[in-house]
Symmetry: C3
Subunit: 312 residues, 3 copies
């Protein structure tokens, strides 16, 4: 296995090869051990400054990155769109170039526009980590999802994994499809027709509109959240109807025989895409995903920062 | 004296026994010395991560907790309601469980709902410190008020302490009544009838509607602030009328003979509940309270964090 | 050269003598070297706590101060107007005195009111650094501008420097005029009549309304930004007309023979006061200014903090 990543930025899962994935998982494993010790920090990146640029609100992803950065002992500056001089008409490139001129090493970018992280990486001279770009990719989420599955299953090859819900608007779905394909997983997406992108089969996934069938087939299911804030008109009659057809609850679980693992990227809408009993059951590994998120982000930051030193 | 607290959270003064109070005061004394040295920090809690969850705006309490945490060398993550995924319909328990899954050790919670800190402590597995829950309790404020009085008087037993103003909406008043009772203080509350809760005598306090009488009686007075933002209709005709009847100013001070100590939880409304001359006089220990706030919060955090290690 | 500043605060350039300027530049030079090393930090101010009080939004100045403070290893607390108890009617002095009671050593103040930093320095007992007070002064900006010019020219004595644009509303212009005069520079301000303050010649500067003439005359030009947010009515017909008469672009540059250095305080309005080609050309030292800003702020904070220790 290579000791360094093939990429200089983390823009999306689609850029990573299988060696990169294995290296990230192995490194995350090491950091997960660290954050479960009484002393949860390493002094490794004391000489690195990281800017978290969030042009879209976020609680968990932002806190997860911040904690990952703190536990690597790096210096951090944060800013959110509402405080930025973007209000004064400055371009994204100018904003970032200004921050980089202050000797910032890594930029973590969350942006509502698909492709924003890639665009930035082409136009500025810095390490860019994509923390979600519109409905395009959310690579650290996909990495932590796969890492959590590997913890449960070991090798994912030939496993059956379903992704259920609003696949159309979901960067989580897309990044998950990319990563699971690379690991030899059989993927099925499931949801109402209006929320499944046309031609998604071209990515090598199966499509189903029946939740029970899908659950009977799979070893694990990733229940996407209904993102009301991302839908500009109604894609299904009501949350209640959605819940009846595609919500995961005790009735549904009783109908299937196999014991499946349940993932959710959070924040969960209890009673809509997942019921409280299921979300709090042992089958659901939602909080493992959150913990693994810190370890994965530590691994990604560490591996990308290491490349600066190699190049120096 | 015991070396550890009888509680695992700081939810309210009502849970603390006299040994707890003495232990907190003794520890705060030690930290007050530290923060008055040229090097104001100790490396004690380098392995502790603290989340400040403020669901209600606050300047001084938030800054005071943050400084206390920094001077204990702990790692800190902050978030305020406006950035949170609560907007996305997530429950308080889910938000906190997610933060805890990232290996956070202590949650400092400010919340508009009375009982929020207790509710959380029953439902999540973490140390909770109540930084104000609606009109219920504000225990660190009461601790710093008492600590400031002890600095002036030594033992508080049998002292006469008055609490003047909007007792009805004040978590500061309630927490102060609890703590002063435990220390054997005689308490009188004073204010317009509309702002004194019915049956408050059942807590063992006297009630007066006359400011001059009350001040003549007491050794120290805690002047509550008029919290316009907490009143949903008018409890008295105008700020001017309130000030004439219950405001502390030079005229009032001249009418009483005894030299009383004046506390105020801040921020002060100059010219309403307290005049500028009085607020800036030597009798007022408002800024001592602020400084003691950092020491008290360091003590509380330190003592609660120590319990994790003992249990480990 | 003296080893310490003649002032205890940085309120404005007008208070500094030439020894102060040289000491700041020499110290900034040292810190610029530090921030270009792999380890960009010094432990020098580990015992200092700094409060950044921003009552006006700002991206770059705030981040620059924060990074300067972090690289000196000081403890930092931030607050912005929207979170403050100023909403609860507290005065600026009370807010700051409360923060100081928590044992804060240095206050960095950004405020919309001209004179706010001076007013504070007269009324509280702390080191105050002015990070911009309304249309009055922005001393660290002027220091970094001069520092950037010195890097290019060495001694500035008898150089010709132009300041172009909205001089009327610009604290950057005023602070630059003060500092450049002290260093023996010939200054010319240039812009539409409505944006040049009357009687500005009394500060010892020339006035011109012709951009080409001004550029032919100067060795360097500081292009101010059009601050739409500061203008309460229109001072010129349109941005387009402004750009045609006072915008710096390739056509303008072709008309002058001399190779001038171009500064801009940022954020730039591309296509208004400066064209993209010019902003991104080698003549423009805009990003050097940004980098130098961190070094200058480290120098100012370091030199003022050193005075506390001397006085102790």
């Amino acid at each position: 296995m290579n000791k360094s990543l093939s990429v200089s930025n983390l823009l999306g899962i689609s850029d990573l090869n299988i060696n990169d994935l294995n290296l990230i998982f192995k490194t995350a494993n090491y950091f997960k051990e660290i954050i479960n010790r009484p002393i949860k920090k390493v002094p490794t990146l004391r000489d690195i400054t990281i800017a978290n640029l969030f042009f879209e609100s976020s609680t968990r992803t932002k806190l997860s990155f911040e904690l990952a950065e703190k536990r690597l002992s790096s210096d951090i500056i944060n800013f959110s769109a509402q405080y930025s001089s973007l209000n004064k008409g400055e371009s994204l490139i100018d904003t970032v170039n200004n921050i980089l001129a202050m000797k910032v090493d890594i930029v973590v970018l969350r942006h509502p526009n698909p492709g924003a992280a890639f665009f930035l990486s082409e136009n500025v001279n810095s390490i860019i980590i994509n923390a979600g770009d519109g409905s395009h990719e959310h690579p650290t989420q996909a990495l932590l999802d796969s890492f959590s599955l590997i913890e449960k299953f070991g090798n994912l090859k030939d496993k059956n994994i379903a992704i259920v819900g609003d696949v159309l608007h979901s960067r989580v779905a897309l990044s998950n499809i990319y990563i699971l394909k690379k690991m030899g997983v059989n993927i099925r997406v499931c949801g109402p027709k209006t929320l499944i992108p046309r031609h998604i089969e071209s990515l090598g996934v199966e499509v189903s509109y029946n939740l029970i069938d899908t659950l009977k087939w799979c070893d694990a299911v990733n229940m996407l959240r209904i993102q009301n804030e991302r839908m500009n008109f109604n894609f299904f009659p009501s949350n209640r109807e959605y819940s009846q057809l595609y919500g995961l609850n005790t009735d549904v679980i009783k109908k299937i025989k196999n014991e499946i693992i349940i993932l959710h990227p959070g924040p969960i809408n209890r009673g809509i895409e997942i019921s409280s009993e299921i979300a709090d059951s042992d089958q659901a590994i939602i909080l493992d995903q959150v913990q693994n998120g810190v370890a994965i982000r530590m691994a990604v930051i560490y591996l990308l920062a290491k490349k600066i030193n190699i190049n120096d």
